[in-house]
């Protein structure tokens, strides 16, 4: 089957989750990846949405982090202060997904502004849960499309710390921290190391042993598309 770059990203992120993973998911690709994991190899994976739903098991892909189905299918629904205090800060979450407008070579992220903070060129929505997700979960997974505008030498604003970023999946490949710097470790089928270099705004470190990501299997794609169709009914 053919597939899109988004599908490759979702599949590759999903593969990193297991039935023992407790993960904090935002809407969009992370939610797609986590729900896909539950439908394929990781049925026990626990999904936590920052709206307060713990162990949500949506049948449809949620369109917002506060969809009613998340509350209906959750093991527990807690208040937002409790979610951030007892669950996130409490150290209960294994994996947190983050996206951003910009990332630097250390995995620091910007989701706040393009340009100067006081007189921004583009005012972005802001960090939301990101600053504390980035420092409270055990592992941060970043999902972000590759471009020189996104993978920058110097962030316009550092919204969250990169210290716990373990894995960046893009539409071209995968970066992982090696000796404190994000390093290309895999390219997706159809991409080359040079493609990734060209789409990265800093001089990209490349691992000696770059491998090619396994393409999404038919089963993965079928599960993914079923989720997406349901969510858009």
């Amino acid at each position: 089957m053919t597939y899109t770059a988004d599908e490759m990203m979702a599949v590759e992120a999903a593969r990193r989750l297991t039935s023992d993973t407790v993960c904090f998911v935002g809407i969009g690709l992370p939610s797609l990846a986590a729900n896909l994991a539950r439908r394929t190899h990781a049925p026990g994976c626990t999904l936590i949405y920052e709206s307060g739903t713990i162990g949500a098991k949506p049948q449809q892909l949620p369109l917002s982090i506060g969809d009613g189905e998340l509350a209906e299918t959750a093991d527990a629904v807690v208040s937002v202060p409790e979610m951030f205090a007892y669950w996130l800060q409490g150290g209960r979450i294994g994996v947190g997904f983050l996206g951003a407008a910009q990332i630097d070579r250390h995995g620091n992220l910007n989701s706040t502004v393009i340009g100067d903070y006081a007189t921004p060129k583009v005012r972005l929505p802001g960090g939301g849960g990101a600053p504390e997700i980035a420092t409270s979960v055990r592992e941060v997974f970043v999902m972000l499309r590759h471009s020189p505008r996104a993978f920058v030498e110097q962030l316009d604003f550092r919204t969250s710390s990169g210290e716990r970023v373990r894995f960046v999946v893009t539409d071209l490949g995968i970066l992982e921290p090696r000796d404190g710097e994000l390093t290309l470790t895999r390219v997706h089928p159809g991409s080359t190391v040079d493609d990734v270099r060209a789409a990265t705004g800093w001089e990209l470190k490349v691992a000696d042993d770059v491998e090619e990501t396994a393409a999404p299997t038919d089963a993965e794609l079928a599960a993914l598309r079923a989720l997406k169709t349901k969510g858009r009914e």
């Binding site: 009613g68 205090a85 800060q89 005012r123 504390e132 980035a134």
Partner: protein
């Protein structure tokens, strides 16, 4: 002791120009109708507080009600930017908008501190983030371990406004589903207004429901559909299409203004 009022009365009695107002809701039960009534009453210079300002805050800002926004994530969930918020911040239209920007964790702690009558809340937060230098957060030392943590000032809005599923005739309010920071906002605020889908004789117990006692609320207004286009669990679903439409309506100042005139200013209040 909660008074049962019309929405018009509730806003008129509780909200004044210059007030700090929190209309809260985390995706669910967003008090849109109350926000529209604030716009219709032409309130000005408000400091608006909310973790996740979305469409109704975009409308309040675009209609010139706000002087300042205290927030942690201001976007159109699943769609993109809030264009009126951006226009105010980027171009000062219709008026400049001061920002006090937090993380969700910081906002949640600030509300909980307010509800607890504490002047500040403590969290492991704002670490490695440039936000710390741009907002009201200070470092505080644990007096036992010496560890440094973040302190945020408590939120104590003048007025807290939330929407809930139902109230009884005394004004006890019941809400369920995603309950967000609704209880904290009511308790942290000096005055509070709750709009509800219906007023019933008796609040039956319900799994996952919380009750906010009438003696912590100033006014309750029955406003069926008052959370639309967001949703009220058990009553109606989220109008996802409208969130997508808002992207187009809000991009252009004139389109926005025309839409607001037709759908909000000329709407018959409840």
């Amino acid at each position: 002791m909660a008074e049962i009022v019309s929405l018009t009365e509730g806003i008129r009695e509780l909200v004044t120009d210059g007030d700090t107002v929190a209309l809260e809701g985390f995706t669910h039960l967003i008090p849109h109708a109350a926000g529209h009534e604030i716009i219709r009453q032409g309130l000005r210079d408000l400091t608006l507080v909310r973790m996740t300002p979305d469409l109704v805050y975009d409308q309040l800002i675009g209609m010139g009600c706000a002087r300042k926004l205290v927030f942690s994530w201001g976007g159109n969930p699943g769609v993109g930017s809030l264009h009126r918020l951006r226009d105010a911040v980027e171009h000062g239209w219709p008026a400049p908008l001061e920002l006090e920007e937090h993380s969700h964790a910081g906002m949640a702690v600030a509300y909980a501190a307010g509800a607890s009558n504490l002047p500040f809340g403590v969290l492991r937060g704002y670490l490695g983030s440039d936000l710390a230098a741009r907002t009201r957060v200070r470092r505080i030392e644990c007096p036992f371990t010496g560890e440094e943590l973040a302190a945020v000032p408590a939120h104590r809005p003048d007025v807290g406004i939330v929407h809930a599923q139902r109230a009884d005739r005394q004004g006890n309010v019941q809400l369920w589903g995603i309950t967000g920071v609704q209880k904290e906002v009511v308790l942290a605020s000096a005055r509070s207004l709750v709009t509800v889908e219906e007023i019933v004789d008796e609040l039956e117990p319900k799994a996952g429901a919380m009750t906010i006692p009438h003696w912590t609320i100033d006014a309750v207004a029955c406003v069926p559909g008052g959370a639309r286009p967001s949703y009220a669990h058990g009553y109606y679903d989220r109008d996802n299409a409208f969130y997508v439409e808002w992207e187009q309506i809000s991009r252009d100042r004139d389109t926005f203004t025309a839409w607001m005139r037709e759908h909000v200013l000329e709407e018959v209040p409840v």
